[in-house]
Symmetry: C2
Subunit: 466 residues, 2 copies
């Protein structure tokens, strides 16, 4: 280091998850790029910041439509009694959202995510244009607002602009709210070029997203590899979320959605198949075999009545999966993992973790630890994010659980992570750092009030009697 | 009122749930017994305490084994992979619990329940005796500790001492941990006599519980009506929680558990059938027809791999149901209701609320409101508790939601209750009163730290590396 370099930050974690064990008194140095530069367990503390509690990696959130946070709780009436009815409510809702609204909503969402223990988010971004489908003066306006929100909150971001070309398997045109989504493959490429500099400077990532087989032509699905090329960027797609999609794909193409996709595109470990709810035995084996990550969104899949992913069979086949909060009826990693596990236990009528597919050891050996292990590792893979573990070279994204919290009192070993996941809804998360910077301390976000204020102003309404 | 009577307490609620609408500026007087003496919407505020936010009835928790709170998160390893494996862990755990432990654990549990919006609890109490099965000097020692914990926390209590006679359908003896549970019908009657004065003075209720058809003889089930008699006390029983119980009952008695029970005892609206998970079409109709309340414990039923109750069919048949936190992996009413609803949506693959059985209107017309309506009304019926609504003569048990909380910003009408149930895990509950006394203010319980301190001391362990 030259005399001009800013000093590295150094922390001493009293208890830190290292592999499958709790390590004591680990000294961690973080460089100016927010990455872990050194880890030492020898030597006395030497003035660096001591952090009590149970320190674990921050959790990646692989699937988000940030604007939907403002809709949570508004679509529970008797009208929208199916996914498709909900989608109509969502389209009507988004018609009035301005860039300021989206930035305020996203910042609030990201603050909530951080407080619950998510430290990076994959933004499946399709709200590109103004209502009616024109263009903002800056065509990448909405994407810049997502970046701004992520920077305000201090969360890690992997931005996935979405290809959205048509309204259905028959090549239907875009209607109503969908006109804000129009984007072709080349358009996403231009957005990458436009945004690359600012995103890199902010430490944010970029990737590709295809909305779904309904919304993207066969030709475009076939060409995506050519555009992604050797970039190693992640590629995400919604697939097989609803039974209706499976029926329509079979009728239009003679194949199930996941089956068709794996036959048309070189799906591999850079890909994230979001939901993949309706898959048969062959598809399960094929996805597990190709190394793609399945992006599960349990609270959204439940809220929308999608169905249960066959987790046990998939995990036993060595499949990779991670979690996302999608429509943001939940903003908590442990609520997602808990519901994922409970769905399996309810239908298998057993307590075998991960539907019988759990294989971790040590302090990851309980159901909670096994679920988190997938979320950390497979989630970071799905986002191309170098995190998910406190290791040299990885981003210093760390969540600290309060050892004295009533949910964790008397807990040690595997019971710490099991209790974080399964014991109660009051969060034991006390502090969160992203890239070595504290963004949550003492259970509060460093900009919590100003972000909430902007969110309230955006919502605008004063409650009135109804 | 004579000059010697203490003054009534008076509150002005800016928004109060009245029937199926939000009423504005309601002046409520509470008498010295903690019951609502008057409700007025006319007239200007006259110095009584103003309460902002959305005020709703406190939620009853119909099923609790308080000591199990200390076990939450400890039984998620690969060992206990069935209900029966979990039960072994639970028996081993309870062997070392002293009356001080049970009081400390229960008080902490009840504080957590209050903070989440439960205002009364039905304690299905079977931990009567010391380890090994002797007797405490005061045979009702453990029950008195439950009352003490409820008073420390300030929660309403309906105490249900449990009859537990044998280890299985074949009349097996009690073994191991079960020896702390031994109690026959007459023993419960004597406990009622012993406790009646103190419980009445504390405003707590009493009732009857039969552990299960495994643990209570056919003769005792037949005699319970004789002992309950005209008292109108509630009668609770675990029934049909696991498929193994159904098989054993069919083998031993030639009938399914709920079927057998309804044929042997005059089950009616004083009864609460806890779980009733495994019921066929005829049983569903019979339970709905007799007016009994089904006590659903969604997070516990999921955690233990019991299965999904057929809520849609039952609700469409006019059945009554309420919620309990049972093993206390959750301590939140909205987490229970949310999981109850999500289980239905996942298996029906639709968004129809309550599996298609919701029938409320107005601000209760969304899925959240409909679920709460059952919890309030059927839950209070199951406990014989005069609550569940802010009405003259009922107990002044009120939960106040912060209208400015990010989960509730911009919400009005039915969306308020829908958002409380479905939007996120950070609770918007700000204040809670029980019998007109504030026990939670600004999101903190009035005795939170001292109760947590006793809980930590009881847990005892300083976390160590494992």
């Amino acid at each position: 280091m030259s005399p001009m370099d800013p000093p590295r930050r150094a922390f001493r974690f009293e208890r830190l998850l290292a592999g499958d064990r709790w390590a004591r008194d680990v000294r961690v140095e973080v460089d100016t790029a927010g990455r872990i530069a050194s880890l030492r367990t020898d030597g006395a503390p030497d003035g660096c910041e001591t952090v009590t509690g149970w320190a674990v990696p921050g959790v990646p959130n692989v699937h988000s439509h940030s604007f939907q946070r403002a809709l949570a709780g508004l679509a529970e009436g008797r009208g929208p009694d199916s996914f498709w009815g909900w989608r109509e409510v969502m389209y009507a809702f988004l018609e009035r959202l301005t860039p300021d609204d989206v930035e305020a909503i996203s910042a609030q969402l990201y603050v909530e995510m951080l407080k619950a223990g998510f430290t990076c988010v994959g933004e499946f971004h399709y709200l590109h244009h103004p209502p009616g489908g024109g263009r903002y003066e800056d065509p990448a306006e909405m994407s810049r607002r997502i970046l701004a929100a992520a920077r305000t909150a201090g969360i890690g971001l992997v931005h996935l602009p979405v290809v959205y070309e048509r309204g259905g398997f028959g090549g239907e045109g875009l209607e109503g709210g969908q006109r804000r989504f129009r984007m072709d493959l080349e358009g996403v490429g231009r957005m990458h070029d436009e945004l690359a500099g600012d995103f890199a400077a902010a430490g944010a990532g970029l990737g590709w997203a295809l909305h779904s087989l309904r919304a993207v032509s066969e030709g475009s699905v076939g060409r995506v590899e050519e555009l992604v090329g050797g970039s190693q960027m992640p590629v995400h797609i919604h697939v097989a979320e609803q039974e209706r999609e499976v029926r329509e794909c079979l009728a239009a193409r003679g194949a199930r959605p996941v089956e068709w996709l794996l036959g048309r595109a070189p799906v591999d470990e850079r890909w994230c198949l979001v939901h993949a709810t309706h898959v048969n035995r062959e598809e399960i084996a094929a996805v597990a075999g190709c190394g793609a990550v399945v992006g599960l969104c349990p609270t959204t899949e439940a809220n929308l009545g999608d169905g249960l992913f066959p987790l046990g069979e998939f995990a036993r086949a060595g499949g990779r999966f991670a979690i996302g909060t999608d429509s943001h009826v939940s903003r908590s990693p442990v609520e997602e993992l808990r519901l994922l596990e409970y769905g399996q236990r309810l239908v298998t009528r057993s307590r075998a973790g991960l539907g019988g597919g759990g294989r971790e050891e040590g302090v990851l050996g309980g159901a909670g630890g096994a679920l988190l292990a997938h979320a950390w590792s497979d989630g970071c893979r799905a986002l191309g994010w170098e995190g998910g573990g406190v290791e040299i070279g990885k981003r210093a994204d760390v969540v600290v659980l309060d050892a004295g919290h009533p949910a964790l009192v008397g807990r040690e070993g595997a019971a710490v992570l099991d209790s974080w996941v399964f014991s109660g809804t009051e969060t034991p998360v006390r502090d969160v750092m992203v890239g070595g910077e504290w963004v949550v301390t003492g259970g509060r976000h460093v900009r919590e009030e100003v972000v909430a204020g902007a969110f309230r102003a955006s919502a605008g309404a004063t409650p009135t009697e109804s």
